[in-house]
Assembly symmetry: C2
Homo-oligomer: 350 residues x 2
C-alpha cells in the first residue's frame, strides 16, 4: 500500500448515520424505564445503530485481533521484563493460557494472534505470520521503521480486520503484545497530542522510580532524535511507533471504513487509535474505548479526545483483555435496545 492509497481509504470513511441514531433514541425512550436511566448502555446502543445503520445491530460474532511485535527500544532497559517474553507470550496465547484467552472465552470472542514483528522465529499452528521485520529499530537512535514498513504494518492490520469481517465478525477488539511497548506509545501520545513526556510516560509492567525517570528521558530523547520526522501522523507512527501499534491503527481504519464497531483495548491500542484518528477524525465515532488503564497518561488521551472509556478496573495488561470485557457491556447495550419491552407493549404508564 502506498501513502496515497492509505489517504484514499481514510477519505472513504463516512460519518455515523444520524437517522438511525435518532430512531434509536426514540425507541430507547419508549422502553419500560425512565428515559436515559441505563446511562452509557443507552449511549452505546445508540452509537452502534449509527455505525451499523440499523435499529437492530445484533452482535453475533466477536473477534479480537492481538498483534505482537518487538521493540528496539527494549535495549534501553525501559521494562522489567526481558524481550524474550514477547515470543513466549505468543506461545502462551496459542496454548490458550493468557489473560486474553480466558477473557475472550468468557465473553464468547475468538482471539486471533498475529506476528507482525516478533524478534524470533515463530511457527505455531493458528498463528498468523505477517512479520514485517524482527522488531522495530531503537527510537533512541533513529526512526522505529521506514515509512514503507509502517505502511506494510498498517496494511497487515487492515487485511486482518477485513478477513475477520468477511468471516462474520460484527464487532472487533484490538489487542497488543510487545515487551517495552508502553515506551513507543508514550512517545506517540507525546508527539501527537503535544504533551510532555513526563506526563504520558508510566510504569508499564511495574518499573521503579529510577527506571521511570530513565524511561521518561528515553521518550524525550526519542522525540528529539526523530524531531525532523514528526510531521504527518504516518511519519510520526513510522518514527516512534511499533509494528503492532501500526497494525492496530490499520485495523481500526478498516473497521471504520466497513462500518464495524471496534473496541479499543488499553494504553497501547489507544496510541494506534490516536494515529488513525489523526488520519481521519471521523474514526473516533467507530471506536468504543474499553477501559481507563492504570498506566499514567491514558487519562490525558481521553481528555484530549473528550471521551470516557466504559470500564475503570485499573487494568494494565493489554493483549485485548479490556476489549474483551467491554464487548460484553456493548452487547448488553444492544440487547437493551432490541429485547426490552416498550411502555405500550408492557402496559406500563409512562
Amino acid at each position: 500500500m502506498t501513502e496515497k492509497q492509505l489517504k484514499k481509504i481514510c477519505a472513504a470513511i463516512k460519518p455515523l448515520d444520524k437517522k438511525a441514531m435518532t430512531m434509536a433514541r426514540e425507541r430507547l425512550d419508549n422502553l419500560t424505564k425512565p428515559p436515559g436511566s441505563l446511562g452509557r448502555l443507552e449511549e452505546t446502543a445508540r452509537r452502534l445503530c449509527g455505525i451499523r445503520k440499523s435499529l437492530s445491530p445484533a452482535i453475533k460474532k466477536k473477534i479480537i485481533l492481538t498483534f505482537a511485535a518487538d521493540h528496539g527500544v527494549a535495549a534501553e532497559g525501559v521494562s522489567t521484563v526481558p524481550r524474550e517474553v514477547t515470543r513466549q507470550m505468543v506461545v502462551n496465547f496459542m496454548a490458550g493460557g493468557a489473560g486474553v484467552n480466558v477473557l475472550g472465552r468468557h465473553v464468547g470472542a475468538e482471539v486471533r494472534v498475529i506476528d507482525v514483528g516478533v524478534a524470533a522465529e515463530l511457527e505455531l499452528e493458528g498463528l498468523y505470520s505477517r512479520k514485517i521485520k524482527a522488531g522495530t529499530d531503537n527510537i533512541m537512535t533513529g526512526p522505529a521503521m521506514s515509512r514503507d514498513e509502517a505502511l506494510s504494518a498498517i496494511s497487515v492490520g487492515m487485511e486482518m480486520a477485513a478477513e475477520a469481517i468477511s468471516d462474520g465478525a460484527d464487532i472487533l477488539g484490538t489487542g497488543d503484545m510487545g515487551i517495552a511497548n508502553t515506551t513507543p506509545s508514550a512517545a506517540l501520545f507525546s508527539a501527537l497530542l503535544g504533551l510532555d513526556p513526563a506526563e504520558v510516560t508510566g510504569r508499564g509492567t511495574g518499573i521503579d522510580d529510577k527506571t521511570l525517570e530513565h524511561k521518561i528521558a528515553v521518550v524525550a530523547n526519542a522525540l528529539k532524535v526523530n524531531k525532523t520526522r514528526l510531521t504527518s501522523a504516518l511519519d510520526v507512527l513510522a518514527a516512534l511507533g511499533g509494528l503492532e501499534i501500526a497494525a492496530i491503527c490499520g485495523m481500526i481504519i478498516e473497521a471504520a471504513r466497513q462500518r464495524i464497531p471496534v473496541v479499543v483495548d488499553g494504553f497501547i491500542s489507544s496510541a494506534g487509535a490516536l494515529a488513525a484518528m489523526k488520519m481521519n477524525p471521523l474514526i473516533l465515532d467507530y471506536c468504543f474505548f474499553s477501559h481507563m488503564s492504570a498506566e499514567q497518561g491514558h487519562k490525558l488521551f481521553f481528555a484530549a479526545i473528550d471521551r470516557q472509556p466504559l470500564l475503570h478496573l485499573d487494568l494494565r495488561l493489554g493483549e485485548g483483555t479490556g476489549a474483551a470485557l467491554a464487548m460484553n457491556i456493548i452487547e448488553a447495550g444492544v440487547k437493551i435496545l432490541t429485547e426490552m419491552a416498550t411502555f405500550s407493549e408492557a402496559g406500563v404508564s409512562c
Copy 2:
C-alpha cells in the same frame, strides 16, 4: 423472627478466610502477567476466595432477587411516575420484558421477583408472594413500618436468599422495584451516615429542580417526624425504610452468614446493604458493589464505607440491572484465577 434472633444471626457472621486470600494472591502473582496488572479483577477474585474459603470459587449459578414494594411517601409527589407503575413493572418482570430480565439473560442469571409489599393484588405465575403489607406508611407523618413489620420483611429477604442458595446459587444479586423508593433510601443514608438530606437526595426517575427541592424537604421532614425512633439500625430501617429495602437487608445478612457473595445493585440496594452493615460491619466484605449510580448521594455512601463500585456507567434504573452486569465482571475475575496459565506452566520468564 424476633430482634433477638436477628442479632444472633448477625453475630454468626464470620470474617473472610485470610489463608485462602493469601494463597489466592500467591497464585495471581504466578500467572502469566505482571503482578497486579488485572487490577480489580484480581482484587475481586481474591476476595471471593476469602468468602468461599476456596481457591477455585466457581460461579455456576447466579440468582438475582428483585424485591418489589410500594411507598406511602409516593403520595407527597416525590416522583414523576405514578405509584401504579410498581405493580405494572412486576407484571413486566414476569413477562420478561424489563431491563433486569434482559441483562439477567445476558449474563446467565435467573431473576426471581418477590412481592414484599406492592399496593395491589398480584397473582402471577412464578411471582413469589410474600407481601407484608400493601406498601409502607407515609414517612412524612410517621414511621414507614412497625418494628415487627420490618423484622418480617428482613425475614422474607433471608428466606429468599436461603432458598436461592439451597437451589445452588453461588452468587446472589440484589434488586428493587418501588416507585418513590429513592426517597426512603435518601432518608436512610441521611440517618445512618449523618449526612444532610440535601446531599443524599437526588433526581430519581428524573424530577425537575422544584420537585427536587420539595423531595429534600420531604426527606428532612421524615427525619424530623421520626427523630425519636432513629436509634438502632433496625429502628431506623423500620421508621424510614421500605419493605423491599428491609428485604434486601435481610437477603444480604443471610448471604454473608452462608458465605455467599452478594452483588449489591444501586442506590436503593446500597441503603439496604448499609442497614445490614450497621448490624454487623463484617457484612461489608461479603458485598460486591456493582456500580456508581447516577443518583446523587451514592458517591457519599462509597466514601463513607471506603469502597469503590465495579462499574461507572451512569445507571439509575435499579431492578438488579447493575448487579447483573457486575456479576459478569466478578465471574471474569474468577476465571482469571482458575483458568490462566502460570509462568512455569507456560514457560514464560518472570
